[in-house]
């Protein structure tokens, strides 16, 4: 019994690093960028509504994202710490805004994106509502998931 358990664990320890090479993890820039783009747009609309501002339409925001893992020389795939820059146009096509996020991506395709500027967009954990109440800033911390299969 103990022998077979040791054999299984030994095989797993040997196979795991080998298997890591065989096939993509599914965690690449493309699905991450696409997911965080649309999630950000939805949350931006929510943030504006929470602050009592008029709600922009999703399409008018034209949000798109570039994500980078480590340095460009490193392989751009797999779980870990990514940096994402979301470009969007809240005030029309001539005025782009770039929101920066430090994104911790897990192996199951879920991520937690921590806002890293600009301060007015995602710097503060709370925002002020129309009746001066403090509510959670939806853009401060973004939780999302994409399909890694």
């Amino acid at each position: 019994m103990r022998r077979s358990l040791a054999a299984v664990l030994g095989a797993a320890a040997v196979l795991a690093p080998i298997l890591s090479g065989c096939g993509s993890t599914g965690i690449t820039a493309a699905p991450l960028q696409s997911s965080i783009s649309s999630t950000f747009a939805n949350l931006y609309v929510l943030q504006q509504a929470d602050q009592g501002n008029p709600r922009p339409s999703l399409r008018s925001l034209h949000s798109h994202t570039g994500c980078l893992k480590g340095t460009p020389a490193m392989p751009q795939g797999g779980s870990g710490n990514w940096l994402c820059y979301i470009t969007y146009y809240p005030s029309g096509p001539a005025y782009p805004v770039i929101a920066k996020y430090k994104v911790d991506v897990q192996t199951d395709g879920c991520y937690a994106a921590d806002g890293d500027g600009p301060a007015s967009v995602n710097g503060s954990p709370t925002i002020t509502g129309p009746h001066y109440q403090q509510v959670i800033n939806p853009l401060a911390l973004i939780d999302g998931c994409f399909d890694f299969t």
Binding site: M1, A12, A16, L19, S20, C22, G23, S24, T25, G26, I27, S35, S38, T39, F40, A41, N42, L43, L46, G78, S79, T107, D108, G109, C110, A112, V135, I136, P138, L141, I142, D143, G144, C145, F146, D147, F148, T149
Partner: protein, 290 residues
Amino acid sequence: MTLAAQRWPAFAEPIAGRKRPGARTVYRMELAKMRRLIRVRVIAVLAIIGPFLAVAALHLQSATPGDTAFGQWVHVSGFAIPMVVLGFAAQWIAPGLAAVVAGDIFSAEDHFGTWKTVLTRSCSRGQLFTGKFLAALTFGLALGLLLTVTDLLAGLLAGTQPVVGLGGQLVPAGHATLLVVLSYLSDLPPLLGFTALAVLLSVVSRSSVVGIGGVVAITFLLQVVTLLSLPAWAQLALLSTPFQAWHGFWAQPAFYGEFSWGLVTCAGWFAACAAGSWLVFRRRTIGVAP
């Protein structure tokens, strides 16, 4: 002592045409025995009051669970609470709870030495196996359904405000209720997979410690393994991965690839464990130490 007192005429005539018992009889007997186990009663009580205690605990403090989906919204919407519970309990606790019954239902007979008692009645090994296996599955299923109901109710009590989904969208109360229920139900297949695994471990080892502890150990092991950068197909083959398949339900647009593959994985593990258990049990020596 009245052994010698009288003859035994009442027992002398065999009954003709008696209905032979089957797997269903064994199943009902096992459920009757299960109801009387203390640990089953304890788990049932915990499953009923636990979620409400969790809601109360969350209300009493202003901090929010970090590092988990829906965590930041637990004070805003009651629907976030069952989702936070599901994200944690499903993969860490539920398999162990199901194994408390499934990892013991076969090895208890080894522990008490009662295999030779039940195998010398009118039921075949196949009927005993089937009845016990189904009883173990029933417990897992009942546990999952019970937790679904109590977690949802606890969440609804906390508040029915719309909750923010995993695509940034605001999900209204009606749709949120549906998604919570579907998320919980989607965790039943992997739970049944772990139930079958618990049965396999306990049949092979003839020990409840291995049957229950083995599942707990494997649960932890799988959590460690998922941290590795395995290729997507390997991640999907792990029995713990389908527990998170509900992520796709809450995304926008929703995706179901993980869930579909999860069903295949669970079916595969379940079939392998069930078949393995039967093959080992079928030819085992009972009653005489080899």
